[in-house]
Assembly symmetry: D2
Homo-oligomer: 484 residues x 4
């Protein structure tokens, strides 16, 4: 159940830039991989805030005539991964509200672990909610702060929240960027002429032509007002716990986050995997496209040739009619087709970045086997996932994680992996180990959250808190909105 | 400025009806004349609330596949007159929120005179707002009530508001209908089999095939839960002040409101007008279509024949390109065309229900004169409008009311009317008097609000209250939302 | 079956007018009552022809950005009544084709009686067709003419067709307007500054601000090229047979066609009806809105007061969900609601312009009777319709015409009318007679086609010609087209 | 100019398959890379043909409710590369017409060299055209054939056309597939249960789950009627001239065409390139994605590692707002971003499948150089393109081909390549030779058309034929169509 509230997202902000909406649009475009379900932009011309939000890809939400509705030189934008139902607009960010100080907009990437509790407490005090999003909780907290300055109210509010949050929030004149003390999610500062830019990843800075300045540090609050940029560290300091899964899967390979090139880290993950789990084979191939760097790293380390055994259909859209329910493996088939002559009769090292449920991996393996490959050696460039994430990665309930379910009846790692190997139907299967994964990052291993692999959550987890049953009905509504 | 916040609306609710959304859709269809800018429906299946809202006519907002998104047997709907900008969805009702008791939906017809003040006070206590609507103020008040029962919380909240409100509000199991103590706006109860129906006007009951039961009384609260229907009168009793303008212009002639047939009252207005301001002429015609009943009444009383000198284009849509800005009177021309042979050379009594700005009347008169009519005797079936409405009729700022602006330099009624006559360019001009208007209703004259004609506002008016300047920026944002 | 191919349409053309598409748009707007299913505009800038067509009302087909696709100073436009299936674009006019002389566009109002035969003959010679429209037949004939001049080729082609046609056709420099020798359908010439305008009715000339010049005469060909306007009468002269049904129902009352004001003719039809079929009653009312003039005429002649017993919902759209199939008379109910207090206990003369199937009339009568009217005296301002039209009016197959089906078992007019009276459930029923109808026009009675009333078709009817069965499949396809 | 009429397309047909439209939809989905501008499907249920066409991707043209408009068990579909202007629907295929035998639908992949001449001749005989497409020419020819049987008429017609054509055409009961005698374009036959399937490439057979049977042979006509499948070779036999560019760029790598795996041929092109133009470097990378196989082949042959220096944005849509015209290289930047740490300081072999204009290549090289690569060795896996294609590949006019323009002032191949190298700004540049290219296919080198590389057109080229100037105006019209 809790998993439904999780999300992966991308955020982008800009201050002091003419035609800010156009640049935010571009920035969101570059962050599209972080969220394909919804997008929104809010801007201020110094007086008035304007906004547009919608369900779908950035391109669909913002055709020129709709982008033109948003105006100003200060602005923030958001792409969103997961909404409840295809057309639910309530949770699409940034949120735009008014409170006693005037208008406020806010968007965030991450997930609060005490969001439900805060919402419960706020409702007890008479607060009303239009969404189920943590963002609205944060705006309520800001609106209830006694602080007079915007940045002080934001800090005051964020001291009450726990969990993962990279936030951009603004009023008509100020923009504030915050990264939580653990620094779970990435957040960059860039500079584009006189404008200050914020983005989840550097690939967005690249596209708008901004120089990379530095990452917002864990626990840092950056406040911009006019020509003044100030930095604060108002939260209690803790050891950073950056999300290792950003390196494994989420971020785009051409980005640098947590001080490292994502592409290089992924290649190193592949290299470590090749050291730990070498195998004699004809070539190395990837489950495209996210596993490409790891597969290249494996190939380079092992000396085996790299090849491409799958061809992607680049035109796969978001909706697809399945003409015949009896047709098996269709969801994968529409996206990938094996290149038969490449794989036939071959011994293949198939590199994947991670296995979550295992169902897609099994379908992919079946497709290859139908092409009469000789051997498949499945290599996973991360350890087995045994836990849900409470900090913003959209992992399902752990009962749906193959490594967790298989672990219930097994005594040790070897048994689990053997069970998964049989389920997948491959000749050999190997995962990366946690130490090898952390080594591959080239960073201090203590600075990462690896809870999904080892159960070590940096914060208390929300299962301690039980929400009254009646309360749940509060979320049981679905609102759709239409505009002509 | 304040005028911008005003609105005329229609509301419809149903309880205990299978496929409630379909019937609400029909009800809103019949109430379309009360609001063409937006529409929304919220329903409950007893557990979950679902909703859809949009900008445009009922037909456009609810194509079958969108209507199908709303489900349940309890529901409320709303048509809205005025939104700020063509595509602003924030203020489209019903509002759907959650608070500590669970989900709540609310829609209203009318306007609060202390809405701004309440909003200011709520914001001082940390409330955040997504809209500029009074409805959201009311939901905040309900959410902050200490009462445990839904109906008690609604009553508690409504005791704090002042002004005009016919309200429908619901949670997942209960529906509450309220009419303010003055009874400014109409609200009917009907019965359709086992279902209870609420509607602004009887024409909506007719279309859904519901029997007319009675009007919700001024100050009455009707609460439905399961099979129980209870009625309360929790507010301090006052002399009713029903809106006379509902009879003059707003309501559909086939409706009965405030105990009278709108059609009959309008005809009587025309009869009174004929008594007060008779004239020798060839025939009586109306400014179509709202003035038809008054013109018929005038004709019947005067013994003059009734004729139709204008032909309406029934296909006029909401948007229209003016191909040449130099073309005068175009807005009217697209809707009405004189039937030249009918009017040419004739002495005409032209009956209008009311004159607001006078600009449209002047254009219509010019069109007739170009057809070489001999005489035009303009007869207005209501008194001169000299004040804005604060209770929900969308009259403009009084500086734009022709009777008000002309009155500034005039000593008496005669002079004002003569000035307007010259502005319009007609041979004679006569208005109905306030006593004759009240007499035409056949009701107790004390039971009507006639503030727009005589400045006697039943409640203190909001000009006493000045909102801090900074506050205004809170409304200076515009949010549009899109759904695929 | 043949009835399916019939249509009523409106056409509009303009020559030598800057921004021609905007003015054609306006002209079509005024002709919207002649066809609500589709609209199209073709224009030439002297070199290139551009076009846009679509399914729906003029307003829906031509939002500003789509109207902007069409450019030029010469142009023609069309509104269309009937298409086969809601979204069939193939038959929407004007047609735009190319042939050996270059591009050609053509639209027409009317129906050819030898269209099927010509199509068959053309196909035998290798012609291919994209539509089932007579317009395409005419373009084929023009393309196959040996004449070198455009106007000569048009005349050459039209000499081969038989039936009703008011046509506008153009190439990149010339515009030709033609009215068939019988003059079945109206066609006007107007002048707007230096521009020449053509329109089916004068109401379109009014809206674009054009002066009425004269009607194109039956059998006349008007050719415009540059500053030259020439008129030809190339067809064999016959006695005109103008469509009497244009007066009864089709044309807008504010138009003048066939030399007479439609409004005045309709009133005279009502007056004649009152003379033939007087009755003692409380008042006269119309089946709104097309019967209004006839009802006014009846009232004026009879001395009875005119009243409005039905209120129209002006927002009825083209699609409507019937929420419950058991609900009777719903299609009418959504459009009309009786004003109960007006009709209750009254003896009513209910005037209708015509009865086709009788089903709608029966529903309307039932609605009134439920309001407890005392007596209904149904008066029809035209004779009984006993035949289908082959010249462009969309009457159904005669087996669906109530007067035809009732006539099968009856010996005389009285018996037929009595049977219809019982079917409708009214107290008395009277139709106008053919002589009285013709007298009401004030024109030479021999100059009208009254085939639908008396079976006297001015041309041989197509039942003489049987199309080979195999051929039929040629029309059995449905093509829809989409544009992003 | 002539180049504008060229096109690349994909076709798919199915016979005897329940829910044929769904499967055609899937087939077109798999062929989307062959045409992204428009799509259409025509089906027959044995009696009636239904169709839907639109501008855009398959997914956009065929949402479920529009796909549902097409019905039947016989059908053909088409994806189209190039239309004249974004919204021009006239040329979207399949065309659906009727002629004396009944309805006919036709779609084709390829380009006729005598299409203009045939159109001119047909127009001289009175034919009218709605499009500028060769398909319409072919339907005219079929309609004018004296043959009684559908397949005979198709053969009769196709004997008159010259050029490239893979065609699917159908009436309500029969389907005919034809490949021109030279076999320029691919066309496959597959079998799916009892259904016969036709597709441009095997990747479409794979997706619908059809078995590969064989390719339609050059000059073969396959006729299906009921359970009978017949094959004819009615055309004069010639040496096949299959399009080598299908191997180089057009076809999907997972397809087999002309008897060979596209992926394997591309890898072999890369291998040959490595043999001809080896270079010492750190790694080999591709201009993604079409050059991947050639780059892999180069890497495997050379023994250099393969790496990925560019990251693709998979969400790039068809339209994109350029926020600042001063931003250089934007069109490429939005699609590709270098992985900086991968390329920095490296000596790179950059493999491209072909160079057409050279402008994009130059932008890509600049992007890499800004990342401070040490050396770029550009390797092109095909020879220099010096001529336009007249057989269906959308190459521009040769004046825009970099190899042609550079050749004008050069004496030999070396000089040309050196000039291009300087233009691109790379350290070394090498192209594949024609013999090496042909060798890489593993087929008889005489069986390919290599006209774009060596000027040896298999047919007379259309420059011999000059179309009369007046004629051109025939194409100068643009028609858009809309459906609600």
């Amino acid at each position: 159940m809790y998993g439904e509230l999780k999300e992966e997202c991308g955020i982008f902000g800009i201050y002091n830039q003419k035609n800010a909406p156009n640049w935010i649009y571009l920035g969101l475009y570059a962050l599209q991989h972080r969220g394909q379900e919804g997008a929104g932009i809010v801007c201020s011309d110094g007086q008035v805030l304007s906004a547009h939000r919608g369900v779908g890809l950035v391109n669909d939400v913002f055709p020129p005539h709709k982008l033109a509705r948003v105006k100003g030189y200060i602005g923030i934008g958001h792409v969103r991964y997961s909404t409840f139902g295809a057309s639910n607009l309530r949770n699409v960010q940034p949120f735009l509200m008014s409170y006693f100080q005037g208008p406020i907009a806010l968007c965030h990437n991450g997930n609060l672990v005490n969001g439900e509790l805060l919402k419960y407490q706020l409702e007890q005090k008479g607060a009303i909610f239009q969404s189920t999003s943590d963002s609205e909780v944060m705006i309520h907290l800001i609106a209830r702060s006694k602080e007079h300055q915007f940045v002080d109210a934001v800090i005051d509010a964020l001291k009450k929240v726990k969990g993962a949050f990279s936030i951009l929030t603004m009023n008509n004149k100020e923009l504030v960027a915050v990264r939580d003390p653990f620094g779970f999610r990435p957040l960059w500062i860039g500079k584009k002429g006189k404008a200050i830019v914020f983005a989840s990843e550097t690939c967005a800075l690249d596209l708008v032509g901004a120089k990379w300045v530095r990452e917002v540090e864990p626990g840092e609050v950056v406040h911009i007002c006019g020509n003044e940029v100030n930095s604060y560290f108002p939260f209690k300091e803790v050891v950073p716990k950056q999300c290792i899964f950003e390196f494994i899967y989420v971020a785009r390979p051409d980005s640098v986050i947590f001080g490292k090139s994502v592409d290089q880290v992924r290649k190193q993950l592949g290299r470590e995997l090749a050291k730990i789990a070498p195998v004699d084979a004809d070539f190395v191939m990837a489950v495209p496209d996210s596993s490409n760097p790891a597969a290249l790293g494996y190939a380079h380390e092992s000396g085996l040739p790299f090849d491409m055994g799958f061809i992607r259909n680049h035109y796969v859209g978001r909706t697809f009619i399945e003409p015949d329910p009896k047709m098996r493996d269709f969801g994968v088939k529409i996206k990938l087709n094996p290149s038969k002559d490449t794989v036939k009769g071959k011994r293949i090292v198939l590199v994947d970045d991670s296995i979550v449920r295992g169902t897609t991996a099994r379908k992919i393996i079946r497709m290859l086997k139908r092409c009469k490959v000789k051997e498949i050696h499945y290599r996973v460039a991360s350890p087995p996932i045994i836990n849900s994430c409470y900090y913003g990665i959209d992992t399902p309930n752990r009962e749906k994680l193959i490594a967790y379910t298989m672990s219930k009846e097994c005594r040790n790692r070897e048994e689990i992996i053997e069970k998964i190997r049989r389920y997948l139907g491959v000749d050999t299967l190997a995962y990366l180990t946690i130490p090898a994964m952390l080594k591959a990052t080239g960073c201090d291993p203590k600075h990462f959250c690896t809870a999904c692999f080892d159960n070590n959550y940096p914060t208390p987890i929300p299962s301690n808190f039980t929400i009254p049953d009646k309360e749940n009905s509060a979320y049981q509504h679905d609102l759709t909105l239409d505009e002509r």
